[in-house]
Symmetry: C2
Subunit: 434 residues, 2 copies
């Protein structure tokens, strides 16, 4: 192979960065054949260049400054794999200004500044690859931007947060509490020390916002989305759902609904026989509904060092072959049309699962169903099991499934239910996917 | 949009061809935005130009000759959607010689002449798009050639024939015979009048051969593959498998096994809880195992007018954006390495399900297990249910599950079993997927 090498500046050498170095090293020959030229890391930028690290490429001396990359006209591609938004944004702007193309896996950055960065890159004739920013090793960015472009996308339905899915799976499989399953996820490296963004739905909602812009050409913010996390779920909800024929998953949905865009990230009851209900552990899945292709479904590892790194390498190869240069302007053109109006969160329409802890005495059920009735919420199932005498604390668990209603009506009813003296604690409220 | 249009010569205007015309017409604006230029059909070639047809583009007069396309220097892309191999091959060679790029959905053609045509196109600086040739609307060609190129693929496991999968689903759901389910598939348009290539496994094996070349750089022929169809399956096999916790699917597998390539297309028992076992009706699914990404899975409509046409349109957009020109040479480079050796079919190693119809008299089981034992085939389960007295014809159905053994040993044992006087009819022999 006589071609001159593709030189990469790698910014960030954490889990994913060292995984990229490992793949480029171990699969050097294969990648050179696919790229049409050898691919090599020429610069590494890390905060603490003195610390020993695995998979550091031979002959590369890490630096704590990006200046070496900026000054090197023979390094045309920057693979930036740092977290956070401010420094990451600042760096990418500098790299674009210096005429570099970009690959990044930073989902929070793209949620916050993605559309700006994309427009800036396109204006400069540069490209940004970001396959690794959503759903790890599953090539969903490629699917939306390239593979399904013969279609108008009508809906996306997905599990996008592997941490939450792992916790839900562990709770049910080992019949344990949310807290114990979370601790285990942290021990196994499936959850960060601070898991807040994963378990409260923020991570999934940011990923959904990125996909929503690509699929529907509409920029959305987290406030456009009905967002609930798994952090209030109890084992009993998973068990009761199971008895009713459902599994609970943190389901992310974006759907065109009478010309408006409906957005939701919530723990959701799904019939056990649906493929999406059967995705267990840290895996992700995305079902894409196209107007001509119908429903196609994509699943695999949503996180992890090597799956994510392999998505970064796919972006490097897209750049090397020229696919990135062909695709990137097409993304900007196809998202430039009129935006969809976002449906106000309170108009989200679903069937719901409600669980209330209530005093076990006369007229309680009448009071609760009266509240629901006044808010036009119709009931499809009520279930209150007998409390075993030895556990009798005077409280009972009441499960109600409703017919289709709206998030707004339920919020209003919820506030009234919480004021009933017989209702203890918060009402658990979960939508049911059709 | 000021750009000059992309002019297409469309050869063949059957189900898929008219679907492509419909999509290009109904989604003209979206497709122009994605392509960066309007996309229009300028020529249509059909065998009987006089016959009325749906979705014929306005202003295009069909012809029965390709000469108009060959002579038109402003038509750079030919979308060829005819069946058969000889004429299709002849046409594509002429189009390539005339400097046209190609999109085709003809899987039989690509199985037979694909590698030759690809090399010829690459040598001429042209491209061939063929997303629609395998698995209809599922973008598996993109996945193997573009999205997962950061990986070395270790294995593919797939349902690639929608007709067979529909028939198997119908047999089990409606508890009916193969013949009745086939008749129903034909009535609903899921099976051709002559379904031989679908139900005997040839269609799936041809698709697997195409994927095998792309994923492993190895050209294979049908004789390299252990191929069995669903045409000898009986409802009782689906029922017994179900009682044992399995579903039967026409599973296509290509796997690197100790540096050799193992190829199989056979009705296969899969544990009911596996995703691939849950694909019902005419859908397809492909699980791809990459060395870094692990297992990723893709499912959706494997055939049908609009899903297949939407894959053709994706290829048209790959051409229009320049992605095809970037990807096509990369396919040729990455498949140019040393081929894998193909494992001889008789060395295929699996657990097996056997069903024999035997005379219900002493020593029969001893004779059968003696044959198996002499061929070193070890038994993990035997099941012979009592025949209800009113059905007693002196024959019993004997089901045996074996431990792992080889196709070769089983073939040899099978020949001996068929010579036992107590064994009536052929032994049903199905592998079990791990």
């Amino acid at each position: 192979m006589a071609s001159s090498p593709l030189n990469i500046g790698l910014v960030g050498f954490g889990t994913v960065g060292s995984g990229v170095a490992r793949i480029l090293n171990e699969s050097a020959e294969l990648i050179a054949a696919r790229a049409g030229q050898p691919v090599q890391i020429r610069h590494i930028v890390i905060r603490d260049p003195g610390r020993a690290r695995d998979h550091l490429p031979a002959g590369v001396t890490p630096s704590d400054s990006i200046d070496g990359i900026l000054a090197d006209s023979e390094t045309s591609l920057v693979v930036q794999l740092i977290g956070g938004t401010d420094t990451a944004y600042d760096y990418i702007q500098k790299f674009l200004a210096a005429g570099k193309d970009i690959v990044t896996a930073n989902k929070a950055l793209l949620y916050e500044y993605g559309v700006d960065l994309f427009r800036q890159a396109a204006a400069d004739g540069r490209t940004i690859g970001f396959e690794a920013a959503v759903a790890g090793g599953i090539p969903i960015i490629n699917v939306v931007n390239q593979a399904l472009t013969g279609n108008r996308i009508n809906a996306l339905e997905a599990i996008l947060n592997g941490t939450s899915n792992f916790i839900l799976t562990e709770m049910l499989d080992r019949q344990q509490s949310y807290e114990n399953a979370l601790a285990q996820a942290q021990e196994l490296g499936y959850a960060e020390a601070d898991p807040a963004m994963d378990v409260d739905g923020t991570d999934a909602a940011q990923k959904l916002a990125i996909l929503t812009w690509l699929a529907f050409g509409t920029e959305v913010s987290l406030t456009d989305c009905v967002q609930r996390g798994i952090d209030n779920l109890q084992l009993t909800d998973l068990q009761v759902a199971g008895e009713l024929g459902y599994k609970i998953k943190l389901l992310a949905t974006a759907r065109v609904n009478e010309d408006r865009l409906e957005l939701s990230v919530q723990p959701t009851l799904l019939r056990v026989d649906r493929t999406i209900a059967q995705i267990d552990g840290p895996d992700n899945i995305i079902a894409v509904y196209g107007d001509f292709v119908g429903k196609t479904t994509y699943s695999g590892a949503g996180a992890g060092q090597l799956p994510t790194a392999s998505a970064v390498v796919a972006d490097i190869l897209d750049y090397a072959t020229g696919r990135a240069a062909a695709t990137f302007p097409s993304i900007l053109r196809s998202t430039a049309g009129p935006s969809l109006q976002v449906q106000p969160p309170e108009e989200l329409s679903r069937r719901y699962y409600l669980r209330l802890t209530v005093e076990d005495r006369p007229h309680v059920l009448a009071d609760i169903t009266d509240v629901l009735g006044r808010h036009e919420i119709s009931i499809s199932l009520v279930r209150q099991d007998e409390t075993p005498e030895e556990n009798d604390d005077g409280l009972a668990s009441l499960v109600i499934m409703t017919h289709r209603t709206t998030e707004g009506k339920l919020r209003a009813a919820d506030m009234e239910l919480n004021q009933l003296p017989a209702v203890h604690g918060a009402c658990i409220r979960l939508p049911v996917a059709d």
